[in-house]
């Protein structure tokens, strides 16, 4: 129900594993984590959303904010998501064109590598 956040390094990416609900109540914690990671020099982020049960526009706002931040350092913020109910809100808002959205963490890392 609540939000669970975890992160670990994989190659030159920092993987952020999110579990639970990202809404107006929990989004501030995700925002803090993203800011913290960027401040510590992690400019290539992959947010794994496979265990996200709920995401609203507040959560989208935090992801967009994170993207702006890493881009200021020529970085990237990609997403891993295959859940239709989560993808829907990205589609409604047109954000599927803004984020790289991948089917798995290895795919996201691989895509990042080949873009360099």
């Amino acid at each position: 129900m609540d939000l669970k956040l975890d992160h670990y390094t994989e190659g030159d990416c920092e993987i952020v594993a999110v579990e639970g609900e990202i809404d107006v109540y929990t989004a501030p914690r995700l925002r803090e984590l993203l800011i913290d990671l960027v401040n510590k020099g992690n400019f290539h982020l992959v947010v794994n959303m496979e265990k996200v049960e709920f995401l609203d526009s507040t959560g989208l706002g935090v992801l967009v904010g994170g993207l702006k931040r890493v881009r200021a350092h020529d970085g990237s913020l990609d997403l891993v998501c295959t859940q239709e109910r989560i993808l829907k809100i990205f589609r409604i808002t047109g954000l599927t064109k803004v984020f790289g959205i991948y089917d798995s963490v290895p795919e996201a890392i691989e895509a990042r590598r080949s873009q360099k």
Binding site: D23, L60, G61, V64
Partner: protein, 150 residues
């Protein structure tokens, strides 16, 4: 099933209570699957928007939610007492966040766009004294789903 009314003080945690109630009542009326997801998300968006608007303008006043089932539709009305709704609607709800204009944080208007994209039928009504978001979905007659298959 007739009306349930929920009145929440303007706190983010209560948005979850509102989602919980809307989902439970919708499920009991017979909504399921992706429609239930739409209800949960649209009601969540409307309540988050209202709660944030109250926190900015009138933190002591509560937000009202009305759930009803009539004329074959499940209807949810979220009403707030904060100003600014008219301006938000006049800004012409942007349906798409453009790559070029990547905002720092999404404007609260995006919530309205999400609601418009989710509800089967939606009606925004704003006056200087507050905004009403009326959303509805076709309701499955309860008799079709309420029985126990056992």
């Amino acid at each position: 099933m007739a009306t349930v009314e929920l009145i929440i003080s303007a706190l983010p945690a209560h948005v979850r209570t509102a989602r919980l109630v809307a989902t439970a009542v919708a499920r009991r009326i017979g909504l399921a699957g992706s429609t239930l997801d739409e209800v949960r998300l649209a009601v969540g968006e409307a309540c988050s928007r209202a709660v944030e608007a109250h926190r900015a303008h009138c933190p002591g006043e509560p937000v009202r939610l009305e759930l009803s089932d009539h004329a074959g539709r499940f209807e949810v009305v979220v009403a707030d007492n904060a100003p600014g709704g008219q301006e938000a609607l006049q800004r012409q709800v942007p349906t798409q966040v453009g790559e070029s204009a990547l905002p720092d944080v999404l404007a609260p208007d995006v919530g309205l766009a999400v609601i418009a994209g989710l509800a089967d039928d939606v009606d925004f009504d704003a006056t200087p004294s507050g905004m009403r978001v009326r959303m509805s979905w076709p309701a499955v007659p309860a008799t079709q789903t309420s029985g126990n298959p056992a």
